[in-house]
Amino acid sequence: MEPVLVANGLRRRFGDVNALDGLSLEVLPGELYGLVGPDGAGKTTTMRIFAGLMDPDEGTVHVLGSNPTDRRSGVREELGYMPQQYSLYGDLSVIENLRFFGALFCLERDVFIERTNRLLAITHLESFRDRRAEALSGGMYKKLALACALLHQPRVLLLDEPTNGVDPISRGELWELLYEFVESGMGVVVSTPYMDEASMCHRVGLIHRGRLLQQGRPADLVGRFVDTVIRVDRHDSGIEAVIAEHGDVILGVSPLGGGLRIVIRSQAADAVAEALRGAGATIEPVRPGFEDMFLSEIRAGGGT
Protein backbone atom coordinates (compact mmCIF):
# COMPACT_ATOMS: atom_id res chain seq x y z
CA MET A 1 0.00 0.00 0.00
CA GLU A 2 1.32 3.44 -0.93
CA PRO A 3 1.43 5.95 1.89
CA VAL A 4 -0.96 8.91 1.69
CA LEU A 5 1.42 11.16 3.56
CA VAL A 6 5.21 11.18 3.47
CA ALA A 7 7.34 13.56 5.52
CA ASN A 8 11.09 13.58 5.10
CA GLY A 9 13.61 15.26 7.38
CA LEU A 10 11.42 18.17 8.42
CA ARG A 11 13.19 21.01 10.21
CA ARG A 12 11.73 24.25 11.38
CA ARG A 13 13.12 26.92 13.68
CA PHE A 14 11.34 29.75 15.46
CA GLY A 15 13.95 32.23 16.59
CA ASP A 16 16.43 30.11 18.48
CA VAL A 17 13.98 27.29 19.20
CA ASN A 18 14.19 24.16 17.11
CA ALA A 19 10.53 23.26 16.83
CA LEU A 20 11.22 20.44 14.41
CA ASP A 21 14.58 18.77 14.22
CA GLY A 22 14.54 16.23 11.42
CA LEU A 23 11.15 14.58 11.58
CA SER A 24 10.21 11.87 9.10
CA LEU A 25 7.11 9.71 8.99
CA GLU A 26 4.68 7.98 6.66
CA VAL A 27 0.97 7.35 6.99
CA LEU A 28 -0.88 4.63 5.10
CA PRO A 29 -4.45 4.76 3.89
CA GLY A 30 -6.80 3.35 6.50
CA GLU A 31 -4.30 4.04 9.22
CA LEU A 32 -4.81 6.04 12.39
CA TYR A 33 -1.41 7.48 13.19
CA GLY A 34 -0.92 9.05 16.61
CA LEU A 35 1.61 11.80 17.15
CA VAL A 36 2.06 11.65 20.89
CA GLY A 37 4.16 14.08 22.90
CA PRO A 38 4.01 16.85 25.49
CA ASP A 39 3.24 20.51 24.75
CA GLY A 40 6.11 22.12 22.90
CA ALA A 41 7.29 18.85 21.37
CA GLY A 42 6.51 20.09 17.85
CA LYS A 43 3.11 18.49 17.25
CA THR A 44 1.30 21.61 16.08
CA THR A 45 4.20 22.70 13.85
CA THR A 46 4.17 19.27 12.25
CA MET A 47 0.42 19.40 11.68
CA ARG A 48 0.60 22.88 10.18
CA ILE A 49 3.34 21.84 7.80
CA PHE A 50 1.31 18.77 6.82
CA ALA A 51 -1.70 21.00 6.22
CA GLY A 52 0.30 23.36 4.01
CA LEU A 53 -0.06 26.27 6.42
CA MET A 54 3.62 26.57 7.09
CA ASP A 55 6.80 25.89 5.13
CA PRO A 56 9.51 23.76 6.67
CA ASP A 57 13.01 25.26 6.68
CA GLU A 58 14.27 21.94 5.43
CA GLY A 59 12.74 18.67 4.34
CA THR A 60 9.71 17.80 2.26
CA VAL A 61 6.10 16.81 2.75
CA HIS A 62 3.98 15.05 0.21
CA VAL A 63 0.30 14.50 0.71
CA LEU A 64 -1.12 12.20 -1.95
CA GLY A 65 1.99 12.89 -3.96
CA SER A 66 1.69 16.68 -3.90
CA ASN A 67 3.13 19.47 -1.87
CA PRO A 68 0.27 20.55 0.44
CA THR A 69 1.09 24.24 -0.09
CA ASP A 70 0.39 23.86 -3.80
CA ARG A 71 -3.17 25.00 -4.20
CA ARG A 72 -3.33 24.27 -7.90
CA SER A 73 -2.61 20.57 -7.49
CA GLY A 74 -6.01 20.05 -5.92
CA VAL A 75 -4.47 18.40 -2.86
CA ARG A 76 -6.46 20.66 -0.58
CA GLU A 77 -9.67 19.15 -1.88
CA GLU A 78 -8.46 15.84 -0.45
CA LEU A 79 -7.12 17.16 2.83
CA GLY A 80 -9.09 17.68 6.02
CA TYR A 81 -7.60 19.66 8.88
CA MET A 82 -8.87 20.42 12.35
CA PRO A 83 -6.68 22.94 14.16
CA GLN A 84 -6.05 22.80 17.85
CA GLN A 85 -7.38 26.27 18.55
CA TYR A 86 -10.99 27.28 18.07
CA SER A 87 -11.20 28.25 14.44
CA LEU A 88 -14.80 27.92 13.39
CA TYR A 89 -16.98 31.03 13.29
CA GLY A 90 -18.44 31.43 16.76
CA ASP A 91 -21.15 33.85 15.66
CA LEU A 92 -22.40 31.49 12.99
CA SER A 93 -24.68 28.56 13.74
CA VAL A 94 -23.75 24.90 13.42
CA ILE A 95 -25.44 24.60 10.05
CA GLU A 96 -24.03 27.90 8.78
CA ASN A 97 -20.51 26.80 9.58
CA LEU A 98 -21.12 23.57 7.71
CA ARG A 99 -22.65 25.43 4.77
CA PHE A 100 -19.71 27.77 4.55
CA PHE A 101 -17.11 25.03 4.50
CA GLY A 102 -19.26 22.93 2.18
CA ALA A 103 -19.34 25.81 -0.28
CA LEU A 104 -15.58 26.34 -0.10
CA PHE A 105 -15.26 22.76 -1.26
CA CYS A 106 -17.90 23.38 -3.94
CA LEU A 107 -20.16 20.54 -2.82
CA GLU A 108 -23.31 20.09 -4.85
CA ARG A 109 -26.47 20.83 -2.95
CA ASP A 110 -27.80 17.29 -2.71
CA VAL A 111 -24.38 15.91 -1.78
CA PHE A 112 -24.04 18.56 0.90
CA ILE A 113 -27.45 17.82 2.39
CA GLU A 114 -26.85 14.09 2.45
CA ARG A 115 -23.44 14.36 4.09
CA THR A 116 -24.48 17.03 6.55
CA ASN A 117 -27.40 14.98 7.73
CA ARG A 118 -25.20 11.96 8.16
CA LEU A 119 -22.48 13.88 10.01
CA LEU A 120 -24.97 15.65 12.26
CA ALA A 121 -26.53 12.31 13.08
CA ILE A 122 -23.31 10.54 14.03
CA THR A 123 -22.06 13.55 16.00
CA HIS A 124 -25.42 13.88 17.79
CA LEU A 125 -25.61 17.51 16.76
CA GLU A 126 -28.95 17.40 14.89
CA SER A 127 -30.84 19.14 17.62
CA PHE A 128 -28.24 21.90 17.73
CA ARG A 129 -28.32 22.85 14.04
CA ASP A 130 -29.24 26.43 14.77
CA ARG A 131 -27.13 26.95 17.85
CA ARG A 132 -24.20 29.31 17.50
CA ALA A 133 -20.86 27.53 17.55
CA GLU A 134 -19.65 29.66 20.47
CA ALA A 135 -22.54 28.38 22.59
CA LEU A 136 -21.58 24.73 22.17
CA SER A 137 -19.82 22.80 24.93
CA GLY A 138 -16.18 21.85 24.39
CA GLY A 139 -17.02 18.34 23.27
CA MET A 140 -19.78 19.41 20.91
CA TYR A 141 -17.58 22.11 19.42
CA LYS A 142 -14.86 19.60 18.67
CA LYS A 143 -17.39 17.31 17.03
CA LEU A 144 -18.61 20.18 14.86
CA ALA A 145 -15.04 21.03 13.91
CA LEU A 146 -14.53 17.41 12.98
CA ALA A 147 -17.70 17.44 10.91
CA CYS A 148 -16.49 20.55 9.08
CA ALA A 149 -13.18 18.87 8.36
CA LEU A 150 -14.94 15.73 7.08
CA LEU A 151 -17.61 17.31 4.87
CA HIS A 152 -15.60 16.99 1.68
CA GLN A 153 -14.61 13.38 2.51
CA PRO A 154 -10.88 13.98 2.52
CA ARG A 155 -8.52 11.09 1.97
CA VAL A 156 -6.11 12.52 4.50
CA LEU A 157 -7.33 13.92 7.80
CA LEU A 158 -5.16 15.90 10.21
CA LEU A 159 -6.42 16.43 13.75
CA ASP A 160 -4.41 18.58 16.12
CA GLU A 161 -5.23 17.63 19.72
CA PRO A 162 -8.90 16.91 19.02
CA THR A 163 -9.58 15.62 22.54
CA ASN A 164 -8.13 18.60 24.40
CA GLY A 165 -10.67 19.87 26.93
CA VAL A 166 -13.19 17.18 26.04
CA ASP A 167 -14.72 15.02 28.76
CA PRO A 168 -14.12 11.24 28.71
CA ILE A 169 -17.54 10.37 27.36
CA SER A 170 -17.37 12.77 24.42
CA ARG A 171 -13.79 11.70 23.88
CA GLY A 172 -14.92 8.10 23.50
CA GLU A 173 -17.50 9.19 20.92
CA LEU A 174 -14.86 11.17 19.05
CA TRP A 175 -12.60 8.13 18.77
CA GLU A 176 -15.53 5.99 17.63
CA LEU A 177 -16.17 8.49 14.86
CA LEU A 178 -12.56 8.41 13.78
CA TYR A 179 -12.47 4.63 13.56
CA GLU A 180 -15.46 4.72 11.30
CA PHE A 181 -13.73 7.00 8.82
CA VAL A 182 -10.42 5.24 9.04
CA GLU A 183 -12.14 2.02 8.14
CA SER A 184 -13.36 3.59 4.91
CA GLY A 185 -9.70 4.03 3.90
CA MET A 186 -8.93 7.52 5.15
CA GLY A 187 -5.41 8.13 6.46
CA VAL A 188 -5.60 10.00 9.75
CA VAL A 189 -2.91 11.77 11.75
CA VAL A 190 -4.01 12.72 15.24
CA SER A 191 -1.84 14.50 17.78
CA THR A 192 -2.29 14.31 21.53
CA PRO A 193 -0.35 15.27 24.63
CA TYR A 194 -1.99 12.43 26.54
CA MET A 195 0.18 9.36 26.70
CA ASP A 196 -2.73 7.13 27.55
CA GLU A 197 -4.38 7.99 24.24
CA ALA A 198 -1.52 6.35 22.34
CA SER A 199 -3.21 2.97 22.70
CA MET A 200 -6.15 4.30 20.69
CA CYS A 201 -4.03 4.54 17.52
CA HIS A 202 -2.93 1.94 15.01
CA ARG A 203 0.56 3.30 14.98
CA VAL A 204 2.22 5.82 17.23
CA GLY A 205 5.14 8.19 16.92
CA LEU A 206 6.48 9.47 20.23
CA ILE A 207 7.59 13.02 19.55
CA HIS A 208 9.95 14.95 21.79
CA ARG A 209 11.83 18.16 20.96
CA GLY A 210 10.93 18.00 17.32
CA ARG A 211 12.12 14.45 16.80
CA LEU A 212 10.49 11.04 16.80
CA LEU A 213 11.87 8.99 19.67
CA GLN A 214 10.04 5.84 18.72
CA GLN A 215 7.53 4.71 16.18
CA GLY A 216 5.43 1.58 15.98
CA ARG A 217 2.28 -0.24 17.02
CA PRO A 218 1.26 0.69 20.57
CA ALA A 219 1.45 -2.89 21.84
CA ASP A 220 4.90 -3.34 20.33
CA LEU A 221 6.19 -0.10 21.81
CA VAL A 222 5.07 -0.96 25.32
CA GLY A 223 6.37 -4.48 24.72
CA ARG A 224 9.85 -3.05 24.24
CA PHE A 225 9.73 -1.65 27.73
CA VAL A 226 11.91 -4.00 29.75
CA ASP A 227 11.87 -2.49 33.23
CA THR A 228 9.48 -3.47 36.00
CA VAL A 229 6.79 -1.21 37.38
CA ILE A 230 5.28 -1.77 40.84
CA ARG A 231 2.83 -0.01 43.01
CA VAL A 232 3.54 0.47 46.71
CA ASP A 233 0.56 1.16 48.91
CA ARG A 234 2.25 3.55 51.31
CA HIS A 235 4.82 6.30 51.45
CA ASP A 236 6.70 6.72 54.74
CA SER A 237 10.25 7.12 55.99
CA GLY A 238 10.85 3.35 55.89
CA ILE A 239 9.94 3.25 52.21
CA GLU A 240 12.03 6.36 51.56
CA ALA A 241 15.01 4.61 53.13
CA VAL A 242 14.60 1.56 50.90
CA ILE A 243 14.33 3.76 47.82
CA ALA A 244 17.45 5.70 48.80
CA GLU A 245 19.36 2.48 49.38
CA HIS A 246 18.49 1.10 45.94
CA GLY A 247 18.90 4.39 44.12
CA ASP A 248 21.09 2.86 41.41
CA VAL A 249 18.46 0.40 40.17
CA ILE A 250 15.37 2.52 40.73
CA LEU A 251 14.66 4.50 37.57
CA GLY A 252 11.66 6.47 38.67
CA VAL A 253 9.44 7.17 41.63
CA SER A 254 6.17 9.03 41.39
CA PRO A 255 3.18 9.45 43.69
CA LEU A 256 0.16 7.29 42.97
CA GLY A 257 -2.86 7.78 45.14
CA GLY A 258 -1.58 7.66 48.69
CA GLY A 259 1.33 5.44 47.68
CA LEU A 260 4.07 5.31 45.10
CA ARG A 261 4.68 4.01 41.63
CA ILE A 262 8.21 2.74 41.22
CA VAL A 263 10.11 1.78 38.07
CA ILE A 264 12.90 -0.71 38.74
CA ARG A 265 15.50 -2.38 36.54
CA SER A 266 14.05 -5.86 36.00
CA GLN A 267 17.04 -7.87 37.21
CA ALA A 268 16.87 -6.06 40.58
CA ALA A 269 13.07 -6.03 40.85
CA ASP A 270 12.78 -9.00 43.19
CA ALA A 271 15.39 -7.69 45.59
CA VAL A 272 13.82 -4.23 45.80
CA ALA A 273 10.34 -5.69 46.22
CA GLU A 274 11.62 -7.85 49.05
CA ALA A 275 13.18 -4.87 50.79
CA LEU A 276 9.98 -2.84 50.40
CA ARG A 277 7.91 -5.65 51.85
CA GLY A 278 10.39 -5.76 54.70
CA ALA A 279 9.57 -2.09 55.33
CA GLY A 280 5.92 -3.05 55.72
CA ALA A 281 4.60 -2.20 52.24
CA THR A 282 2.15 -4.15 50.15
CA ILE A 283 3.28 -4.41 46.55
CA GLU A 284 1.47 -5.13 43.35
CA PRO A 285 2.79 -5.21 39.80
CA VAL A 286 1.54 -2.51 37.44
CA ARG A 287 1.36 -2.76 33.67
CA PRO A 288 3.79 -0.23 32.19
CA GLY A 289 2.15 2.47 30.13
CA PHE A 290 3.24 4.87 27.43
CA GLU A 291 4.36 7.36 29.98
CA ASP A 292 6.90 4.83 31.29
CA MET A 293 7.88 4.08 27.73
CA PHE A 294 8.32 7.78 26.95
CA LEU A 295 10.43 8.42 30.03
CA SER A 296 12.66 5.43 29.38
CA GLU A 297 13.18 6.59 25.78
CA ILE A 298 14.18 10.01 27.00
CA ARG A 299 16.62 8.41 29.45
CA ALA A 300 18.02 6.22 26.70
CA GLY A 301 18.20 9.11 24.25
CA GLY A 302 20.18 11.16 26.76
CA GLY A 303 17.50 13.87 26.74
CA THR A 304 16.92 15.62 30.00
Partner: protein, 307 residues
Amino acid sequence: MSDLITVSRLCRSFGSFQAVKDVSFKVGRGEIFGYLGANGAGKSTTIRMLCGLLQPTSGSAVVAGADVARDPEGVKRRIGYMSQKFSLYPDLTVFENLDFFGGAYGLSGRALRSRIDEVLDELGLRDRSRSLTSSLPGGARQRVALANALLHNPDVLFLDEPTAGVDPASRRDFIALVRRRVAQGTTAFLTTHYMDEAEYCDRVGLMVAGCLKVLDTPSALKANHVPGALFEVRTARRGDVTAALNAIQGLATIQRIGAGLRVRYDPSPGRDRVAESALAADPDAVVEAAEASLDDVFRAVVDQEAQ
Protein backbone atom coordinates in the same frame (compact mmCIF):
# COMPACT_ATOMS: atom_id res chain seq x y z
CA MET B 1 -7.96 14.75 61.01
CA SER B 2 -9.81 18.04 60.72
CA ASP B 3 -11.82 18.75 57.62
CA LEU B 4 -10.70 21.70 55.54
CA ILE B 5 -13.66 21.53 53.18
CA THR B 6 -17.12 20.66 54.45
CA VAL B 7 -19.88 20.74 51.87
CA SER B 8 -23.38 19.91 52.94
CA ARG B 9 -26.47 19.72 50.76
CA LEU B 10 -25.08 22.33 48.41
CA CYS B 11 -27.38 23.42 45.58
CA ARG B 12 -27.16 26.01 42.89
CA SER B 13 -29.71 26.86 40.24
CA PHE B 14 -29.55 29.16 37.25
CA GLY B 15 -33.15 30.03 36.53
CA SER B 16 -34.95 26.72 36.29
CA PHE B 17 -31.74 24.83 35.59
CA GLN B 18 -30.26 22.99 38.59
CA ALA B 19 -26.52 23.00 37.98
CA VAL B 20 -25.61 21.48 41.34
CA LYS B 21 -28.06 19.26 43.19
CA ASP B 22 -27.70 18.42 46.86
CA VAL B 23 -23.98 17.78 46.95
CA SER B 24 -22.30 16.81 50.23
CA PHE B 25 -18.71 15.77 50.94
CA LYS B 26 -15.78 16.45 53.20
CA VAL B 27 -12.11 16.85 52.41
CA GLY B 28 -9.57 16.36 55.17
CA ARG B 29 -6.34 18.19 55.91
CA GLY B 30 -3.47 16.83 53.88
CA GLU B 31 -5.60 15.18 51.22
CA ILE B 32 -5.57 15.41 47.43
CA PHE B 33 -9.18 15.32 46.36
CA GLY B 34 -10.07 14.81 42.70
CA TYR B 35 -13.29 16.23 41.31
CA LEU B 36 -14.34 14.78 37.97
CA GLY B 37 -17.23 15.22 35.62
CA ALA B 38 -18.27 15.73 32.02
CA ASN B 39 -18.57 19.20 30.52
CA GLY B 40 -21.66 20.73 32.06
CA ALA B 41 -21.92 18.24 34.90
CA GLY B 42 -21.69 21.00 37.51
CA LYS B 43 -17.99 20.80 38.26
CA SER B 44 -17.09 24.42 37.64
CA THR B 45 -20.23 25.65 39.37
CA THR B 46 -19.22 23.74 42.50
CA ILE B 47 -15.69 25.10 42.40
CA ARG B 48 -16.84 28.66 41.87
CA MET B 49 -19.00 28.29 44.99
CA LEU B 50 -16.13 26.78 46.97
CA CYS B 51 -13.85 29.66 45.96
CA GLY B 52 -16.40 32.21 47.16
CA LEU B 53 -17.13 33.47 43.66
CA LEU B 54 -20.72 32.29 43.46
CA GLN B 55 -23.45 32.22 46.12
CA PRO B 56 -25.08 28.84 46.75
CA THR B 57 -28.85 28.70 46.23
CA SER B 58 -29.11 26.52 49.31
CA GLY B 59 -26.97 24.33 51.52
CA SER B 60 -23.63 25.33 52.92
CA ALA B 61 -19.93 25.01 52.32
CA VAL B 62 -17.14 25.85 54.73
CA VAL B 63 -13.66 26.15 53.27
CA ALA B 64 -10.67 26.53 55.60
CA GLY B 65 -13.00 27.66 58.37
CA ALA B 66 -14.79 30.33 56.35
CA ASP B 67 -18.37 30.01 55.15
CA VAL B 68 -18.54 30.59 51.40
CA ALA B 69 -21.92 32.30 51.62
CA ARG B 70 -21.26 34.55 54.61
CA ASP B 71 -17.56 35.21 54.31
CA PRO B 72 -16.49 34.84 50.67
CA GLU B 73 -13.59 37.26 51.19
CA GLY B 74 -12.32 35.13 54.04
CA VAL B 75 -12.44 32.11 51.75
CA LYS B 76 -10.48 33.92 49.05
CA ARG B 77 -7.73 34.85 51.54
CA ARG B 78 -7.29 31.24 52.60
CA ILE B 79 -7.25 29.51 49.26
CA GLY B 80 -4.82 29.41 46.35
CA TYR B 81 -5.98 28.84 42.78
CA MET B 82 -3.93 27.46 39.96
CA SER B 83 -5.23 26.87 36.47
CA GLN B 84 -3.72 25.08 33.54
CA LYS B 85 -4.59 28.11 31.47
CA PHE B 86 -2.60 30.20 33.88
CA SER B 87 -3.04 33.83 34.43
CA LEU B 88 0.65 34.71 34.60
CA TYR B 89 1.91 37.65 32.57
CA PRO B 90 4.17 36.19 29.89
CA ASP B 91 6.08 39.44 29.40
CA LEU B 92 7.10 39.69 33.06
CA THR B 93 9.86 37.72 34.72
CA VAL B 94 9.11 35.00 37.24
CA PHE B 95 10.04 37.33 40.08
CA GLU B 96 7.94 40.20 38.73
CA ASN B 97 4.91 37.94 38.41
CA LEU B 98 5.25 36.72 41.98
CA ASP B 99 5.92 40.25 43.20
CA PHE B 100 2.78 41.50 41.52
CA PHE B 101 0.50 38.71 42.70
CA GLY B 102 1.98 38.82 46.20
CA GLY B 103 1.06 42.50 46.26
CA ALA B 104 -2.45 41.58 45.20
CA TYR B 105 -2.67 39.38 48.31
CA GLY B 106 -1.54 42.26 50.48
CA LEU B 107 2.05 41.13 50.99
CA SER B 108 4.75 43.74 50.60
CA GLY B 109 8.28 44.78 51.41
CA ARG B 110 10.63 42.41 53.16
CA ALA B 111 7.89 39.92 54.06
CA LEU B 112 7.00 39.53 50.38
CA ARG B 113 10.67 39.23 49.37
CA SER B 114 11.38 36.47 51.82
CA ARG B 115 8.14 34.69 50.96
CA ILE B 116 9.02 34.76 47.26
CA ASP B 117 12.45 33.33 48.06
CA GLU B 118 10.90 30.55 50.10
CA VAL B 119 8.46 29.58 47.39
CA LEU B 120 11.13 29.73 44.67
CA ASP B 121 13.31 27.41 46.73
CA GLU B 122 10.46 25.06 47.52
CA LEU B 123 9.59 24.67 43.85
CA GLY B 124 13.14 24.63 42.53
CA LEU B 125 12.75 27.88 40.64
CA ARG B 126 15.57 29.84 42.28
CA ASP B 127 17.70 30.13 39.17
CA ARG B 128 14.69 30.99 37.00
CA SER B 129 13.58 34.03 38.94
CA ARG B 130 14.94 36.48 36.36
CA SER B 131 13.68 34.56 33.32
CA LEU B 132 10.79 35.88 31.30
CA THR B 133 7.79 33.71 32.01
CA SER B 134 7.15 33.26 28.29
CA SER B 135 10.63 31.79 27.80
CA LEU B 136 10.12 28.96 30.28
CA PRO B 137 9.37 25.40 29.18
CA GLY B 138 5.89 24.10 30.01
CA GLY B 139 6.88 22.26 33.17
CA ALA B 140 8.67 25.25 34.70
CA ARG B 141 5.81 27.56 33.83
CA GLN B 142 3.47 25.16 35.59
CA ARG B 143 5.61 25.41 38.70
CA VAL B 144 5.58 29.22 38.54
CA ALA B 145 1.79 29.07 38.47
CA LEU B 146 1.92 26.81 41.49
CA ALA B 147 4.37 29.16 43.24
CA ASN B 148 1.93 31.93 42.58
CA ALA B 149 -0.91 30.03 44.19
CA LEU B 150 1.23 29.18 47.21
CA LEU B 151 2.61 32.68 47.91
CA HIS B 152 0.16 33.50 50.66
CA ASN B 153 0.42 30.06 52.27
CA PRO B 154 -3.13 28.98 51.59
CA ASP B 155 -4.80 26.18 53.54
CA VAL B 156 -6.57 24.88 50.47
CA LEU B 157 -5.10 24.73 47.00
CA PHE B 158 -7.44 24.52 43.99
CA LEU B 159 -5.81 22.92 40.96
CA ASP B 160 -7.62 23.09 37.64
CA GLU B 161 -6.26 20.50 35.15
CA PRO B 162 -2.83 21.32 36.52
CA THR B 163 -0.67 19.03 34.41
CA ALA B 164 -2.52 18.81 31.11
CA GLY B 165 -0.02 18.79 28.26
CA VAL B 166 3.09 18.87 30.42
CA ASP B 167 5.77 16.34 29.56
CA PRO B 168 5.72 13.19 31.73
CA ALA B 169 8.93 13.92 33.62
CA SER B 170 7.86 17.47 34.59
CA ARG B 171 4.47 16.15 35.43
CA ARG B 172 5.85 13.62 37.88
CA ASP B 173 8.00 16.33 39.46
CA PHE B 174 4.95 18.52 39.76
CA ILE B 175 2.89 15.83 41.44
CA ALA B 176 5.74 15.17 43.86
CA LEU B 177 5.84 18.89 44.75
CA VAL B 178 2.11 18.96 45.40
CA ARG B 179 2.44 15.76 47.45
CA ARG B 180 5.15 17.34 49.57
CA ARG B 181 2.98 20.39 50.18
CA VAL B 182 0.03 18.23 51.07
CA ALA B 183 2.16 16.20 53.48
CA GLN B 184 2.79 19.50 55.31
CA GLY B 185 -0.94 19.94 55.85
CA THR B 186 -2.23 21.78 52.80
CA THR B 187 -5.33 20.35 51.17
CA ALA B 188 -5.46 20.07 47.40
CA PHE B 189 -8.70 20.09 45.41
CA LEU B 190 -8.11 19.05 41.82
CA THR B 191 -10.39 19.06 38.80
CA THR B 192 -9.62 17.33 35.57
CA HIS B 193 -10.94 15.55 32.49
CA TYR B 194 -7.96 13.26 32.47
CA MET B 195 -8.13 10.02 34.32
CA ASP B 196 -4.39 9.66 34.68
CA GLU B 197 -4.39 12.96 36.56
CA ALA B 198 -7.15 11.60 38.75
CA GLU B 199 -5.04 8.51 39.52
CA TYR B 200 -2.75 10.41 41.85
CA CYS B 201 -5.55 11.68 44.06
CA ASP B 202 -6.29 10.14 47.45
CA ARG B 203 -10.01 10.22 46.78
CA VAL B 204 -12.03 10.95 43.69
CA GLY B 205 -15.58 12.24 43.38
CA LEU B 206 -17.52 11.94 40.14
CA MET B 207 -20.23 14.41 39.14
CA VAL B 208 -23.00 13.41 36.76
CA ALA B 209 -25.75 15.85 35.83
CA GLY B 210 -25.31 18.01 38.93
CA CYS B 211 -25.11 15.15 41.42
CA LEU B 212 -22.08 13.69 43.13
CA LYS B 213 -22.57 10.08 42.08
CA VAL B 214 -19.61 8.25 43.59
CA LEU B 215 -16.81 9.20 45.95
CA ASP B 216 -13.96 6.91 46.99
CA THR B 217 -10.28 6.11 46.51
CA PRO B 218 -9.28 5.36 42.91
CA SER B 219 -8.66 1.69 43.67
CA ALA B 220 -11.94 1.26 45.50
CA LEU B 221 -13.79 2.95 42.63
CA LYS B 222 -12.18 0.60 40.14
CA ALA B 223 -12.94 -2.40 42.33
CA ASN B 224 -16.55 -1.52 43.13
CA HIS B 225 -17.95 0.49 40.26
CA VAL B 226 -17.00 -1.51 37.20
CA PRO B 227 -19.24 -4.53 37.48
CA GLY B 228 -18.31 -7.74 35.70
CA ALA B 229 -15.02 -8.33 33.92
CA LEU B 230 -12.96 -6.51 31.28
CA PHE B 231 -11.08 -8.02 28.37
CA GLU B 232 -8.90 -6.62 25.63
CA VAL B 233 -8.94 -8.38 22.29
CA ARG B 234 -6.31 -7.71 19.65
CA THR B 235 -7.46 -8.64 16.18
CA ALA B 236 -7.08 -7.65 12.56
CA ARG B 237 -10.67 -8.78 11.82
CA ARG B 238 -12.57 -6.47 14.02
CA GLY B 239 -15.95 -6.89 12.36
CA ASP B 240 -16.06 -10.70 12.69
CA VAL B 241 -14.75 -10.66 16.23
CA THR B 242 -17.23 -7.98 17.28
CA ALA B 243 -20.08 -10.14 15.99
CA ALA B 244 -18.74 -13.17 17.86
CA LEU B 245 -18.33 -11.25 21.10
CA ASN B 246 -21.78 -9.77 20.74
CA ALA B 247 -23.21 -13.28 20.72
CA ILE B 248 -21.95 -14.01 24.23
CA GLN B 249 -24.46 -13.38 27.00
CA GLY B 250 -23.89 -10.43 29.28
CA LEU B 251 -22.01 -8.02 26.99
CA ALA B 252 -22.16 -4.61 28.72
CA THR B 253 -19.88 -2.41 26.61
CA ILE B 254 -17.72 -2.86 23.56
CA GLN B 255 -15.25 -0.20 22.63
CA ARG B 256 -12.67 0.07 19.86
CA ILE B 257 -9.15 0.90 20.89
CA GLY B 258 -6.54 1.17 18.17
CA ALA B 259 -6.42 -2.11 16.30
CA GLY B 260 -8.35 -3.94 19.02
CA LEU B 261 -11.40 -4.00 21.22
CA ARG B 262 -12.09 -3.49 24.88
CA VAL B 263 -15.15 -5.34 26.17
CA ARG B 264 -16.93 -5.58 29.47
CA TYR B 265 -19.24 -8.43 30.40
CA ASP B 266 -21.55 -8.40 33.38
CA PRO B 267 -21.73 -11.09 34.57
CA SER B 268 -18.42 -12.38 33.27
CA PRO B 269 -18.51 -15.48 31.06
CA GLY B 270 -14.85 -16.13 31.94
CA ARG B 271 -11.75 -15.51 29.87
CA ASP B 272 -11.86 -18.95 28.25
CA ARG B 273 -15.34 -18.42 26.89
CA VAL B 274 -14.37 -15.02 25.43
CA ALA B 275 -11.16 -16.39 23.95
CA GLU B 276 -12.99 -19.33 22.40
CA SER B 277 -15.45 -17.09 20.59
CA ALA B 278 -12.81 -14.61 19.51
CA LEU B 279 -10.52 -17.32 18.16
CA ALA B 280 -13.36 -18.91 16.26
CA ALA B 281 -13.83 -15.62 14.43
CA ASP B 282 -10.12 -14.83 14.05
CA PRO B 283 -7.55 -17.55 14.80
CA ASP B 284 -4.89 -14.83 15.32
CA ALA B 285 -6.87 -12.94 17.95
CA VAL B 286 -5.26 -12.38 21.34
CA VAL B 287 -7.50 -12.09 24.39
CA GLU B 288 -6.26 -10.68 27.67
CA ALA B 289 -8.03 -9.88 30.89
CA ALA B 290 -7.82 -6.11 31.43
CA GLU B 291 -7.65 -4.04 34.59
CA ALA B 292 -10.39 -1.53 35.19
CA SER B 293 -9.33 2.09 34.74
CA LEU B 294 -10.95 5.25 36.04
CA ASP B 295 -12.15 5.76 32.47
CA ASP B 296 -14.12 2.54 32.83
CA VAL B 297 -15.51 3.81 36.13
CA PHE B 298 -16.58 7.03 34.47
CA ARG B 299 -18.28 5.17 31.62
CA ALA B 300 -19.99 2.67 33.89
CA VAL B 301 -21.35 5.35 36.23
CA VAL B 302 -22.60 7.52 33.37
CA ASP B 303 -24.14 4.47 31.65
CA GLN B 304 -25.90 3.50 34.83
CA GLU B 305 -27.25 7.01 35.10
CA ALA B 306 -28.52 6.92 31.53
CA GLN B 307 -30.54 3.76 32.17
